[in-house]
């Protein structure tokens, strides 16, 4: 990063990003009351994989009693993120169960029946982390099961372990998605811990500049964070204008630094690293208190719940329990249960699925506030989608190409730079579910690439086998030829040294056979002549 660019960033300049929309925010529904603890559920279902990457290995057995914060999985390789028991109780089952995923797919879950004691494992915190090695701190964060709580669920320690030069650490408290106020409330109530976590992250990232970004529609959170940041010269506050999706990683980077993350690259490629405020809070808890990640703030909102607000929800709590506690009444067969916000959240087929580390919101709208999708009309190429696309793509072109399954052209039009923010579909006057088409096209292209890679491997294997067979055949022939040669040579040497020539034996045998034949003929002739004599 150039000195001039850094100077502008230091000066607090806020750049802008193209496109974006201003959907109704509806945050007032949930942001007015403090985060409330949710009553314990009777049963929990903790999916073993809640982060981006491979799961760790299960280390408990059915029937075993577990305590809150006790790891249910552990990794032997140092990769993979452990999950922990959300409360004390008994492991009742380990097996497939529906998880929170757009496809409604099943994965391995560990079911725990709570005993109501909520007994936790003993933990030990670190007061002065500067006295502890970096590796040890990272390991603690990993063992606490901390993953990015902003949405992607990338293991935090893994992100920090990349040892590359970092100019700025960005703490993302933008929370641009309508309805959601989990980060807002967390910042208002736990600003000091968030700042502490940010300092730990700065220490681990090996950089001395941090930017804390908040959207200007959260004045209370801004005030709380401003106060908490008072004694922290390395961290500065950046208030960004309210516009969706300014909290998207790429968009926020553009807002704060004027730079763009290279296509298919990572923020660290341009010397930046970003963590969500919730993650910073979890890091602080993990280091200072030695606490594992067993709960998170979840916004429960929408007009179909009586008590919308934010709750401390244990990881693994069934959605049904959360909704019941918030006073949910279904508004009929059009009722949607959305995990996440109205722009990027996904609908749940049923409420048995558990809350996981990345579940920031449960939105249960009435049909009046979020009308169900209307019938799709033909595209009139009005271009409203292109005007709001923050990635500067041409959504309508992508839509035509996706429908035509023109995969080469889709890649040429940078389909994979689409962040699926949904701004295009939000403004489309023909109500075309654009993002849905892009997701489908992306999946198709990935599948084809995977099939191609598989076919390539199969072909290589087949060719290698043919080559091997050919080689073996040649080797065999060569071996035979050599053996024959060796035999001939041995014979010749034997003859030379005056030994029996095997050929002589053959000649002798032939001579013997001839002699025998001649003797037989002679005997027969004699017998004939004697018979003639008798007659």
């Amino acid at each position: 990063m150039s000195a001039a660019a850094k100077k502008a960033i230091e000066a607090g300049h806020i750049w802008s990003f193209p496109g974006g929309i201003h959907p109704p925010e509806r945050k007032e529904l949930s942001n007015s009351s403090a985060i409330a603890p949710l009553a314990l559920a009777e049963n929990y279902a903790v999916p073993v994989k809640q982060h981006a990457g491979a799961p760790a290995e299960i280390c408990v057995a059915v029937g075993e009693r577990v305590l809150r914060g006790q790891p249910l999985t552990e990794s032997t390789t140092g990769q993979g993120l452990p999950i922990h028991a959300p409360t004390s109780g008994t492991v009742t089952a380990i097996g497939p169960g529906r998880i929170a995923h757009p496809s409604g797919m099943a994965d391995v879950v560990i079911r725990i029946q709570a005993d109501g004691e909520d007994e936790a494992v003993l933990t030990e915190g670190i007061t002065d982390y500067s006295q502890v090695s970096r590796a040890e701190l990272l390991n603690r964060i990993r063992l606490a099961g901390v993953a990015g709580l902003g949405g992607a669920g990338f293991p935090t320690a893994q992100k920090l372990a990349l040892q590359r030069p970092i100019d700025y650490l960005i703490i993302n408290g933008v929370e641009c998605e309508p309805y959601i106020s989990a980060d807002d409330r967390l910042m208002r109530e736990h600003a000091a811990s968030i700042v502490d976590g940010a300092e730990i992250l700065l220490h681990l990232a090996g950089c001395n500049k941090g930017l804390v970004a908040i959207e200007d529609n959260k004045p209370e959170a801004i005030e709380a964070m401003r106060k908490a940041l008072h004694e922290h010269p390395h961290l500065s506050l950046r208030v960004v204008p309210t516009k969706y999706p300014s909290g998207g990683e790429k968009q926020l980077i553009q807002l704060l630094t004027g730079r763009q993350v290279p296509s298919r690259g990572l923020p660290i490629d341009i010397g930046l690293i970003m963590h969500n405020v919730g993650t910073a809070y979890a890091v602080s808890r993990a280091i200072r208190n030695g606490e594992a990640l067993t709960e998170r703030v979840v916004t429960v909102t929408g007009e179909a719940v009586r008590q919308p607000g934010n709750y401390w929800v244990r990881i693994g709590t069934p959605v049904a329990h959360v909704l019941q506690q918030a006073g949910f009444t279904s508004s009929g067969d059009q009722q949607r249960i959305i995990m996440g916000g109205p722009m990027m959240g996904f609908t749940l087929p049923d409420v048995d699925v558990p809350v996981v580390k990345i579940s920031n919101c449960l939105l249960v709208p009435s049909t009046a506030e979020l009308a169900p999708a209307q019938q799709e009309m033909p595209c009139i190429r009005c271009g409203a989608c292109a005007d709001v696309c923050p990635a500067q793509l041409l959504p309508q072109q992508l839509q035509w190409l996706a429908k035509a399954k023109d995969h080469d052209a889709l890649e040429q039009q940078n389909l994979f730079d689409c962040i699926e923010c949904g701004a295009c579909a939000y403004v489309c006057p023909s109500e075309i579910p654009l993002v849905h088409y892009y997701r489908k096209a992306k999946a198709e292209i990935r599948n084809i690439a995977r099939e191609k890679a598989k076919a390539e491997i199969a072909r290589e294997r087949f060719e290698a086998r043919n080559e091997r067979l050919e080689r073996e055949k040649e080797e065999r022939l060569e071996r035979h030829r050599k053996a024959a040669e060796a035999r001939k040579k041995a014979q010749a040497e034997q003859v030379k040294s005056g030994g029996d020539n095997p050929n002589d034996a053959v000649q002798a045998a032939i001579a013997r056979a001839k002699a025998r034949k001649a003797a037989q003929q002679k005997a027969a002739a004699e017998q004939q002549s004697s018979n003639e004599d008798k007659s």
């Binding site: 009722q335 109205p342 009309m377 500067q392 949904g422």
Partner: protein, 352 residues
């Protein structure tokens, strides 16, 4: 219990294609009223004929294509095509003219290409050009603007003329088009072309009674009214500024250059901007999203090209006005414009 599944986003802005189209024809009202004021009630009859034809043609096409008919009517695109064509042709033209034109627009230009969103050419303008080439006399027989006309046709008289070719008093269109001096008068742009072809200077040409303070009598007000409607569309963000600005600049800049170099032989930029179908074209016709370029930069070039073509055709072409030809020619270039104006996606530019 199971719940409804839906793809994100779950929130949607309530502006439908239908609403977009409704804004378009609401914004046409000032222009339409001015048109009626200066050229009489015939415009209303043309509108009625065009809309009826469009709906019938649309229904037949949808039925033949095995699609639900209501579905097509609901988006109002056929309505906008019909309105644009009806206000583009002379108000007292015989009834069959608009029927042929509208049917061609809807059946051939729109549905044969695949219906809404699939057509390459602007339906209204393609219909207009077909009529202009096939029936040049009827298509250029504009009545005199009201202040110059000796006749004042009633609503019913206009209908009788349109359907029978004669007014109840026995006048035909040619007679109605005569000025006080007994000469028929062409439109301002046509008059200028004829005058310049006859080696008159611009000063002499503008002596004719058809010219007003800004441009032609009547025409200047009609253009101003369409400009007003266009500004409304800009304000409510139904259209973006790129195409209208591009087209007006594309026309005004070469016109200004030509005028600066030889003011006696060229039509002034002001006259160009407020004559013929300039404003209607810039705000309502060229902005048809289906047949325009897709990116904002592309739209600017698309507009500039149309404006420049209008200048070229008005100056050297065989027809007095040029918006329809210019739009169709520019429609053909859209794929090329789109190819070379694709915006640089996030993460691909130099800032990444």
């Amino acid at each position: 219990m199971t719940f409804k599944l839906a793809a994100s986003p779950h929130s949607h802005q309530r502006r439908t294609t239908q609403q977009v189209m409704r804004w378009v024809y609401l914004a046409l009202i000032p222009g339409l009223l001015t048109l009626i004021y200066f050229f009489g009630w015939g415009v209303i009859w043309q509108l009625g004929l065009a809309i009826t034809t469009a709906w019938v043609a649309e229904a037949i096409c949808m039925a033949l294509r095995g699609r639900p008919i209501g579905f097509a009517w609901r988006d109002h695109t056929a309505l906008v095509t019909a309105i644009l064509l009806a206000i583009s042709i002379p108000g007292l033209a015989p009834w069959w003219l608009i029927v042929i034109g509208t049917a061609f627009s809807i059946v051939i230009v729109k549905h044969v290409y695949g219906g809404v969103g699939q057509n390459i050419f602007n339906p209204a303008m393609a219909g207009y050009v077909v009529l202009l080439i096939s029936f040049p006399v009827q298509m250029t027989s504009w009545p005199l603007p009201a202040p110059l006309s000796q006749f004042d046709l009633s609503f019913i008289d206009s209908a009788v003329l349109i359907f029978t070719g004669y007014t109840p008093n026995g006048f035909d269109l040619e007679q109605l088009r005569m000025g006080a001096d007994g000469m028929t008068m062409a439109t301002p742009l046509d008059s200028l072309r004829t005058a310049l072809n006859h080696q008159l200077t611009m000063g002499e040409a503008l002596q004719q009674p058809i010219f007003g303070s800004l441009a032609g009598i009547g025409w200047q007000w009609i253009n101003l009214a369409f400009l007003l409607g266009g500004l409304v569309l800009l304000k409510v963000r139904v259209i973006s500024w790129h195409i209208p600005t591009g087209m007006l600049l594309g026309l005004a800049i070469p016109a200004a250059i030509a005028w600066l170099f030889s003011p006696d032989q060229s039509v002034s930029p002001v006259m160009q901007l407020f004559s013929g179908a300039t404003m209607l074209g810039a705000f309502f016709i060229a902005t048809d999203p289906v047949t325009a370029a897709t990116s904002n930069r592309g739209r600017l070039y698309f507009g500039l090209l149309i404006g420049f073509l209008v200048f070229v055709i008005r100056t050297w072409g065989g027809y007095p006005d040029a918006v329809a030809f210019a739009v169709l020619l520019a429609n053909m270039t859209v794929p090329v414009i789109d190819k070379y104006t694709q915006p640089v996606a996030y993460g691909h530019g130099e800032r990444s």
